[in-house]
Subunit: 348 residues, 4 copies
């Protein structure tokens, strides 16, 4: 059955993009007859070696199916029966995973209000007075997102400060890295600089938003935690039987820094978009543009007009805040076409 | 990174096979620029229409990522806080999903010993005396596998009898259809005959073992249950953001009965294998060959010799029982090569 | 073994009090030879009749072991797999039950900041925009405490307004009534006025803080919900085998309005305490005194001095806020003795 | 409200008995004014010291509200997210706790068929082949009941053998000691002989069936596990605010070996009952009488006749198997009266 559909360019999410050709090619190439299932194949071994190469010998990577799955498995390793997660109020795990943390992990989130999506060390220390009180849940892990849900990035120093604060209270630091590539591209650093070298304990590396079809990695820097992951991955419904096709996607992105090329391009397109509206008096940029997201406020009428032709998200309807996202496949023409429409909508 | 691997033909599982070319082509074809995420795309709509076309207008299909996920979501719909599932002792949900039912659904399984993997109506009625006793879990759903874990098939009448027994006690009938195609091919009937028409309430349709990369469907025949599935799918980590690539796989298999072609071929290869050993005095066939699995017992030495060259599973080492599986991509030559090795191994 | 201990009068919590003599007598009187276990006894039947007599024929009461258990069972009835509870940030279920809601119910709490512990109708409506969005948990129940955790009371009209708002969005209204008696005493109304007649769906009636040893009731006004409770109570570890001794405690409190006598006395003692400090310039009363709790702020030094002799809680050390509670067994002399010490401590 | 009920002597369960006068007296004596809540009181400290005195300095005891709660907390300490419990098929946790292990702990039980309710070492070793296989749950604890659900007792040597087998595979041994007293009385040994000295890791000591109102203890022999218990107890709804009244019950039973006196008496009454029927040709004793339970088979008509006047349980109606239990408060006259009725019923 041929589906002959062409959707207009979307600024709603980087997951509206398709698959990078190199990823698709890698998947086709992995379709080479029979192979062991559940990760016992050479494509998966190659992925696992790449992770050690990039993040250090102590790093162990596990391919999974989606970002919520990567978060759940990564967090599960630090959480017992009466524990809690300190995270920003805007965290994806707190807002957009249909309560998976509570239902599947059985833990409480302790959400912290933030201005820009970024947690600060004192946000942790302020919530540690409950330690030891048996009527209250016990924080054992701090979870941040890099890039944050508001498009901002933690610097390596900011992450290191959070790690130090967490570790000094015996908590682990977890990073939801659904857009880790975009952060490394923005910061112009290695992936390792904002993870292994900054003291992160457990993190995810997002492939899907970077050009994969459906592939993410959970990465652990403490080898003693690795033993549990295969069980957790299987039980959490995050293991594909034909795992080689998941691993091949990640391998394609991690080879020759394709991840950086894709992320840098997406970020550049976001800056082009932000730059194009900065002089419009009716448009405000809400947060620093540090990745592939632009949060803008503009008149309600303009939003309505724009939504007739373009897909993007109302982030907060009460304050007319919208989110525009770009992906690896956006072209300058796409952005300029959108910019022209924005200009027209706000100047009517 | 090019992985240049060639594994020998595997008889270990139908998930050692690769992806059918038509499926891969459908996925590439879905890579047509941007599209709405999370299933709001035309490929997913096409899949949903196919399900109604095949299983009836009351049927609603939801694409998911793997068989364990399909089972979990399908079963969740019938299970409250103190409920239980009646299933054969050999059920996949009871043995090979790392306790996902207990952990993620929080329910008890009531496993029933069987001779051939098939539940009988009195296996249900025998376990209903607990209804109403508040110290005991309450069965609310019966779950069977079609094909069973032992390679046998339920006839439409056998399913209808189970459905009637379940319904008369107010229980639902769930079918783990990871190999539903193989059953329909063996029984030479429509998919609908062993599901909708036989009184099944909820079932899965397995794509992965039939030639997909990673795609299964949860199908409900009671439309009132459908509202909950998007929430359950999201929370259970079974929703892909780029859902079109999952839907496209299922669509490819459901178009022009590719599923039947693949399943018939796999079944034929299993029969070829079973026929080839039936005259060997040291080899016994343990269960009727009614799908793409052959369960055979043969001398321990022969197993050891064969395992040096071929992949297959020891099903029960205590009784020298092995499982040989065939998939859509096995050729007569593959089977004959294996047969020659078996003959040699048992006649040494 | 004789424990010969005498603790000083405590103002830390009404659960520091002992057991009212009439309750102890009722328990001893229930020790009349053998009786059916698990609630099949006449003491439990008598309790169940009392509940109908007090709250209406549609009311069904179930005796349980403690307040957290009563909350858990009462809330479980309204919560599916992807649901959430809207409650004040100060709610006992959110702060002092070691994450039981998340762990045992698997749901998310949506805590709402309040000024005085009391939820308002717009606190509900403001959180309903997520309804239908399958990436977000779905609120199905609103839970309030009467008396609130800050010692304040909802008027019957305030409860009715919350019930109406909840019901119009298809949510249920649950009341944590650990101190329901104190509210009815303060409002000078029947228990029924603030529950059945105000539109509450499910609530608890607290016995322990009112003079019982360990006995609470879960009360439902929708008879169709009752069938599940025995199963939930057993599974949630809230069923005593010798249930008659739990029922007898509740019966004692519900007979001849002993609950009101105890609550009124406790409230009166709190007012005596609040009245005694209101003219002290260094002592501020933080919330209206509408039950048996006084929240006061006073100099840190005074707190330290007082804590040498008296037990009470630091509610918020950052703002020098303390909580003083009175119970059925406090005497005017106890209060006056404490008042003398407070006066001395603040005037040093 | 006076409930003036007299039920006939029950042989249905030892939890149909009332409360031993010494226990009631201890509770009344604990009602001495105010005391710290949640276990910070002298009655609880006294109980904790008794546990160390009886079971060894490394033992830590925690008072809880019921047997199911004691089991749940005791087992939780050994169970992670993908673990399982090996236990006899007849185990209380497997059959009569409404799936609390699956719901509240999220784990699978691996029930083992037994002849007499007793697990053997090879029942453990036979189930260890799954260790390391990530599609299967991992056994981490063996749970047995002493007295078993069929009224039989493990000898100290039998327990030691199970402990050794469990430990050599890195599993813990848990004992559901709801009737631990009856076992020690039957074996004529100290409580310590069948727990600490036999290599048990975690066990419960049942108060309720021994003459308490509602009081059990969870006892741990590995002090490093103790830290988690207060959190688990609170979260699992097993903490009473007025804890002193729970502790006082246990203290009463543990003082001057009242537990042994009560258990010995109950056991003696069971033997009197068994001895009284052993010569009746139509009555068969199903299991060795080693505690306070007699399992007998007798004609269906006789059961029907007896049930008109006496309470007891049909254990398995298919084979006419009944259970008769005696408690601390049964008198020789009660037993003889029942025996006369049995004789009459079977000889009609």
């Amino acid at each position: 059955m041929l589906i002959d559909t062409t959707y207009p360019k979307s600024f709603a999410s980087d997951n509206h993009a398709g698959v990078h050709p190199a990823v698709l090619e890698a998947m086709a190439s992995a379709n080479a007859g029979d192979a062991p299932a559940y990760g016992g194949d050479d494509w998966t071994s190659a992925f696992e070696r790449q992770i050690k190469h990039i993040f250090g010998e102590q790093a162990n990577g596990f391919a999974v199916l989606n970002g919520a799955g990567a978060n759940l498995i990564g967090l599960a390793l630090s959480l017992g029966r009466f524990d809690s997660i300190i995270c920003p109020e805007s965290a994806h795990i707190a807002t957009h995973e249909t309560g998976a943390a509570e239902r599947l992990l059985g833990v409480k989130l302790t959400p912290v209000p933030t201005i820009d999506g970024k947690l600060r060390p004192n946000d942790i220390t302020d919530r540690l007075h409950v330690l030891g009180a048996h009527h209250e849940v016990q924080p054992t892990v701090v979870s941040i997102s890099q890039v944050t849900e508001l498009g901002t990035c933690y610097t390596p120093d900011e992450i290191a400060a959070l790690a130090e604060t967490a570790h000094s209270a015996n908590l682990r630091l977890h990073v939801d890295g659904a857009r880790l590539s975009n952060a490394a591209a923005h910061l112009d650093c290695d992936l390792r600089t904002i993870t292994t070298d900054a003291g992160v304990d457990i993190f995810s590396f997002g492939g899907t938003k970077n050009g994969a079809m459906a592939a993410e990695a959970v990465i652990l820097l403490d080898p003693s935690l690795s033993k549990a992951v295969p069980f957790l991955r299987r039980q959490s419904l995050q293991l594909a039987s034909k795992m080689r096709f998941i691993s091949a996607q990640l391998t394609a992105l991690l080879t020759d820094d394709l991840w950086r090329q894709n992320a840098t391009h997406a970020n550049t397109m976001a800056h082009r978009l932000a730059d194009g509206v900065k002089d419009l008096p009716d448009v405000g940029i809400a947060f620093p543009v540090e990745s592939n997201a632009v949060f803008a406020s503009l008149p309600r009428d303009a939003v309505r007009t724009l939504k007739e032709r373009f897909r993007f998200e109302y982030w907060d309807e009460n304050i007319n805040l919208v989110r525009w996202m770009t992906a690896f496949d956006a072209t300058p023409d796409h952005v300029d076409d959108f910019l022209a429409a924005i200009r027209k909508a706000v100047t009517r």
